[in-house]
């Protein structure tokens, strides 16, 4: 919908018409009654309160706690300020941190460079009015309705070295029992490096469908006359897509990009279900949970990691705000 508004820009036209009628009314209601003020105050005040209470307070709370040592037991007076010690420990005495940091970046890269383009490709192919396109759409979209936690369960059933589907399938096909025998079987989830790749495949399976649906909706909204015009001008299919359709879909592209970044940074459930982020599957979100939740309760230390994750997230947030706010300013 918003994409079609770009070439025609109808909202501007609609917006231009309303002030003339609005001005007349503004005279009649120039003074807000007390009730209006109250209503407006509530309408602005409550969301502002919620925003501050639910977003800014926890964020600032995490930042403050990241400079403290606290086990979560007892009152706030038990909180001890220890300066940058949590950060020092994080960088020097906590071996899982850097691998998790790396994994987060790999996750982001794999989604941005592989899963998302693949989803877009699927959307472009399915947009060609293939026979049975609905079936393909359903098949690709199906994993999206599953939560990543469920995808994690499915992944474990597939990847288990001795009882999993993949290795048993290999035995059935090749007739060689070594595929499931301990020592010679491929340990999909137990081999560091390989296990992370396999998790990315499972998570990507879901992500591809998600992006496909988003992009397909965008493609459907592209005015066909644009494609026809490009065809008349002699553009081939690739040129039509990259020179005409892709630029027209700029708003969708931003949404896809933002969705990809959000999905990558909040990745948590699948890894937590599989093994709590052990053995090369660590992610910052999982480390934060392992430290803050449970009996461990290293609340200050976990908060320091949360602050790192916040810093990483701020980049894409600024980019997104810049894009959307910038648009409105125009």
């Amino acid at each position: 919908m918003s994409s079609s508004s770009v070439p025609y820009a109808p909202p501007a036209a609609a917006g231009g018409a309303s002030p003339s009628t609005g001005r007349k009314r503004r005279k009649r209601f120039s003074l807000l009654t007390r009730r209006d003020k109250l209503t407006l105050g509530l309408m602005v005040g409550i969301p502002a309160f919620i925003h501050i209470f639910l977003i800014w307070m926890p964020t600032l709370g995490s930042i403050v706690l990241s400079f403290t040592s606290w086990n979560g037991i007892g009152g706030l007076d038990k909180i001890k300020f220890i300066g940058f010690k949590n950060y020092e420990n994080l960088f020097s005495n906590y071996p899982p941190f850097w691998p998790a940091f790396e994994n987060n970046l790999i996750w982001l890269g794999a989604f941005l460079l592989i899963a998302t383009p693949l989803g877009m490709l699927m959307a472009v192919i399915l947009d060609q009015n293939l026979k049975g396109t609905r079936i393909y759409q359903s098949v690709l979209y199906m994993p999206v309705v599953l939560s990543l936690a469920i995808v994690g369960f499915i992944a474990q059933l597939m990847y288990s070295p001795n009882m999993g589907f993949i290795n048993n399938f290999l035995v059935a096909v090749t007739g060689d029992p070594r595929w499931t025998a301990s020592g010679t079987a491929i340990d999909w989830l137990g081999t560091p490096g390989l296990n992370f790749a396999m998790v990315l495949i499972a998570a990507g399976w879901r992500h591809v469908g998600y992006i496909m649906v988003l992009y397909l909706a965008g493609l459907k909204s592209v005015d066909n006359t644009l494609r026809e015009a490009a065809a008349i001008d002699g553009a081939n299919a690739r040129q039509t897509f990259f020179r005409v359709v892709f630029p027209v879909l700029a708003p969708i592209n931003v949404v896809v990009l933002v969705v990809t970044i959000i999905e990558s940074l909040r990745a948590f459930d699948i890894v937590y279900i599989i093994n709590k982020g052990l053995n090369g599957l660590g992610l910052l979100s999982v480390l934060i949970t392992n430290n803050i939740l449970g009996e461990a309760s290293l609340i200050g230390f976990g908060s320091a990691m949360a602050v790192i994750l916040l810093l990483i997230s701020i980049g894409p947030i600024i980019f997104y705000l810049y894009r959307t706010m910038g648009k409105e300013a125009e």
């Binding site: 009628t21 009314r25 009649r28 209601f29 209006d36 209503t39 407006l40 509530l42 309408m43 409550i46 969301p47 309160f49 919620i50 209470f53 639910l54 040592s69 086990n71 979560g72 037991i73 007892g74 001890k80 220890i82 420990n89 020097s92 005495n93 906590y94 071996p95 899982p96 990847y159 288990s160 070295p161 001795n162 009882m163 301990s182 020592g183 079987a185 340990d187 999909w188 989830l189 137990g190 081999t191 560091p192 296990n195 093994n275 709590k276 982020g277 052990l278 053995n279 660590g282 480390l287 392992n290 430290n291 939740l293 449970g294 009996e295 461990a296 309760s297 290293l298 200050g300």
Partner: protein, 463 residues
């Protein structure tokens, strides 16, 4: 124009409606925020949302109170016995308590792992009067934080029912008792009797017997020792037993308490010994759960499995279960052999510091410390053995008898690595991943590996 005239009105109603919606939304969001923070104290909240868990005992206690002469109030019990077998066993036990004392008991059951994950918040918010917990550091920690009620007076009554080892395991850092043990189970090498008879294998007494047997099993195409560590904690059992065999119980406990250093050459020796034995372990433990490893033992793909006796739960039928037997980890020929130390974690009960009905809770502790409690409990859950030395053992099956013999033969009983040391060190953020890193690369520079562990330990806040 008519509709123009209408519009202000409609806009106004819209505004009002909007305000109402915003207020509602705000209120509900605010409520959600509040309940969100109490949701982390889930044990009581989640349990009260699942009354079915408490229903059987409530019904039982209601029936009982009709017969009981005087009702002395009621208590609530937070329970992590969430699997069906222990849940029923515990409900039966507390129903007997109500019959005996007339005190009503409501059991709030919470899923086992979730109970543990939320225990800190639970004990600080509105905990039940009594709760299920573990002996060892985990008990002493909450006692030291002032989250448990001193029940030394109850121990005056029940003390005669327990050996000194159990009394020590129930005592906090301040020398007072905070815990009543119910049962424990040993970590042992489990095997299938019929399979071993068929193959002519003999129970190994020493580590050289063990490796000889392992070589034979390898020749027979078996994995000598099933092993799984996907979840991070099962490998702790192996570390514990090797450390206690090589360095003795006292060193082990000192190491867990932070008095000994991980960089000690004694610890290096443990990992060296482990690396030497690893060829007899399942070569791919990091992708397996203990359930899968137990299946390998049951399916005769592996000859032995070193785990707590709860591995027996994986036997799908009674005949298979009866075919399982076990023996203590072989001796390494050190001065500590005579200790016959084992891990035999104790499960039991505590009274929360915020208990509303302290007298009722103490009466419950007294009952749970009497021989009646394990007698009733183990009738419904025959996988463990009673901690109470006056409990009736005549009804024990072969499995329980073996457990009891091994525990009785152990002169030193440890809990388990993650029950004997601080939880922030033992968990997924600490020892679990350190042990996995060793298993991934057993030939790595052990001094560097162990100074990494010590560095992490030292980085934790003082307690």
């Amino acid at each position: 124009m008519a509709d123009l005239g209408q519009r202000p009105v409609s806009r106004r109603t819209l505004l009002k409606g909007g305000a109402a919606v915003a207020a509602l939304g705000g209120a509900s969001a605010f409520l959600a925020a509040c309940s969100g923070s109490t949701a982390t104290t889930a044990p009581s909240a989640a349990a009260s949302a699942a009354p079915s868990a408490a229903a059987p005992s409530a019904a039982a206690s209601a029936a009982a109170s009709a017969a009981a002469p005087s009702a002395a109030g009621s208590i609530t019990f937070g329970s992590n016995y969430s699997d069906p077998v222990p849940q029923k066993a515990f409900a039966d036990t507390m129903a007997a308590f109500t019959t005996k004392t007339g005190i009503q008991c409501t059991i709030n059951t919470v899923e086992h792992n979730k109970f543990q994950d939320t225990i800190n918040a639970y004990l600080q918010a509105t905990p039940d009067d009594c709760f299920t917990w573990f002996a060892g550091y985990r008990m002493r920690f909450f006692a030291a934080q002032g989250l448990a009620t001193d029940i030394s007076d109850v121990w005056q009554t029940i003390g005669a029912n327990f050996s000194d080892a159990f009394k020590t395991a129930s005592t906090g850092d301040d020398g007072k008792q905070y815990f009543v043990p119910l049962y424990n189970y040993p970590w042992v090498v489990i095997y299938r009797k019929s399979f071993w008879q068929e193959k002519g294998y003999q129970v190994p007494k020493t580590i050289s017997d063990f490796t000889t047997l392992g070589d034979q099993m390898k020749k027979d195409g078996l994995i000598p020792l099933a092993f799984a560590d996907k979840d991070g904690w099962p490998a702790m059992g192996t570390f514990d037993i090797l450390n206690m065999r090589l360095n003795g119980y006292d060193f082990h406990i000192g190491l867990m308490a932070g008095k000994e250093k991980w960089t000690d050459p004694k610890v290096v020796a443990v990992f060296q010994e482990w690396a030497k034995l690893l060829p007899y372990f399942d070569p791919q433990p990091l992708g397996l759960t203990w359930q899968e490893a137990a299946q390998k033992l049951i399916n005769k793909q592996a000859g032995m499995y070193f785990l707590g006796t709860f591995a027996g739960q994986q036997a799908s039928d009674q005949a298979t279960h009866d075919d399982l037997d076990f023996f203590p980890w072989p001796l390494h020929g050190t001065q500590y052999d005579s200790e016959m130390a084992i891990d035999a974690p104790i499960d039991g009960f505590m009274v929360s510091a915020k208990a509303k009905n302290v007298d009722g809770a103490k009466a419950a502790m007294e009952f749970l410390g009497s021989p009646d409690a394990p007698n009733i409990y183990l009738k419904s859950d025959p996988n463990d053995v009673a901690a109470n030395k006056n409990a009736d053992t005549s009804g024990y099956n072969a499995f329980q008898k073996s457990s009891a013999t091994i525990i009785a033969g152990a002169n030193k009983i440890a809990q388990f690595l993650d029950r004997d040391t601080r939880p922030d060190f033992a968990g997924a953020n600490g020892m679990q991943q350190f042990l996995q890193s060793f298993l991934k690369n057993p030939t790595q520079d052990l001094n560097k590996f162990l100074s990494g562990i010590q560095g992490f330990y030292d980085s934790l806040p003082p307690q």
